[in-house]
Amino acid sequence: MLTLLLDLVFLVLGTGGILLMIAYAALCDRI
């Protein structure tokens, strides 16, 4: 169960972290 939770955390961290850069792009667009 803990391992599954860790998998979810790291998948979200990695995928989400990269996709968060799309929001960063929106911020850069406003500069």
């Binding site: 790291f10 998948l11 990695g14 990269i18 850069m21 799309i22 960063y24 500069i31």
Partner: protein
Amino acid sequence: MSSDTAMGWLEIAIVLAVTFVAAVPLGRYIAGVLDGRARWLAPVERGLLGAAGVDPARGMGWRGYAAALLVLNALHFALLYLMLRLQSLLPFNPDGATAMSPRLAFDTAISFVTNTNWQAYSGETAVSYGTQMWGLTVHNFVSAATGIAAAAAVARAFVSGGVKQLGNAWNDVVRITLYLLLPGALVFAVVLLFCGVPQTLGAAITVHTIEGATQTIARGPIAFQEAIKLFGTNGGGFFNANSAHPYENPNAFSDVLETVSEILIPFALAIAFGDMVRDRRQGIALFWTMALVLVAAVVLANLAETAGNPLVTALGVDPSMGNMEGKEMRFGTPLSSLFAATTTATSDGAVIAMHDSFTPLGGLVPLFLIELGEIVPGGVGSGLYGILVFALLAVFVAGLMVGRTPEYLGKKVEGREIKLAMLAVLILPLCILSGTAISLNTASGLGSLGNSGPHGLSEMLYAWSSAAGNNGSAFAGLTADTTLLDVGLGIAMLLGRFAFLVPVLAIAGSIASKPKLAPTAGTFPTHTPLFVGLLIGVILILGGLQYLPGLALGPIAEQVVMLAGKQY
């Protein structure tokens, strides 16, 4: 100068000369690929794009282009993570590799997606053949294609004026992979096979030595991974020893090929840039900037390593081959120094010698090259768009000095571009310096160090530099598979790659929409030796100076202490 030393310098000169000469026709070819002129695989290209539903003529603005690359990489991260976690269930696992731990799988997946290829594991025991092939090797292609595509988008911004579109990201990634990376890696892999690099799906073999003991010899599908590892400036090796392993790099000839391979595309992209903006002199100026810094770095590294360690010499060890600790006899000091400089001047990170064993000044060179931002010549694509950011900063500095509006290739460089450039440039020191500081103030971080004193500081500084700079090499004394470093370095890799890429693409979008002005009497020429010198100065000062305190407390202090005859 002894004949061995002279031969060493000659080896270095030949390798660099071959690369510089070969980069020119390759650069012209790459420009043809990025411009759409190369069409010899058109039916395959049409089939792939058609199957994916991509209209190659549909241009993307900078945000659409960035989003496409980010979505591609995010999906590939998830895919690779799942592969690493489920590899025990997947085929082609003859040696029974088990699932990687979640934190190590995160670290590994992020590192391959970001072209870093930081490996806190031993490939021959921790990763199955299937994962090596479909996971790691595939991502070597994807990350390399991502970098070159982004560079293409940035280059197009300078071609003409008043445009909002930078090309089609999907079309670029497919063309780069089909026309450049796959053919290049295939040819190189076949040559490596002839050099003796294995390519087999057979399990590790057990041999009986003449002393009657048994030994397990790991092997696998190495040649093709080795080829793209270097050609795409990835750096992640099949084995823990990377290109120091005889199965990855059997002899001096394969080593020369591997060295040329890892710096070829980055230099060629400078030439390609000149072709794309229809002014070859601009590409040549960037080429010279990269070449001069790289040559200086190689010279310094080889001088330091050839001089050796006086403390070791005092013990009676023959100094004629220089500092041979951590180096392979089949390569020697010159080729090892050359590879250490080229692998960190690009974003490759493969090693043929252990950087942790280099002399202090010898180790300073690869560390400093990474901290410059890996732009001389840099990784495939990331080197070109990185040095273009510094070119914009250089013309800005020149403009400040003479009181004129800075412009580069006919495009005015204004406040927005400089703010975005600084956002990009500052991400590296933010990650490197804060990451190093945090690590060295925790028990976990200190526990990872293999050495005390200045060399220990160098180990940690190098790790964070390598991660944020997307290099992937390490001072190998560091124990990297800890929660702090797996997660922390993973985040640094992500930021170093994508938090740099996004503002750079924003600059491209801004530049593309501006009108292209004709040069006037007051235009600062950006193809002259003066500009090359200014650009080098900006790179060294803006890129390098902020790391001076860390370097002073690390490798410089270690060098002083070594020469004073003391050790930790």
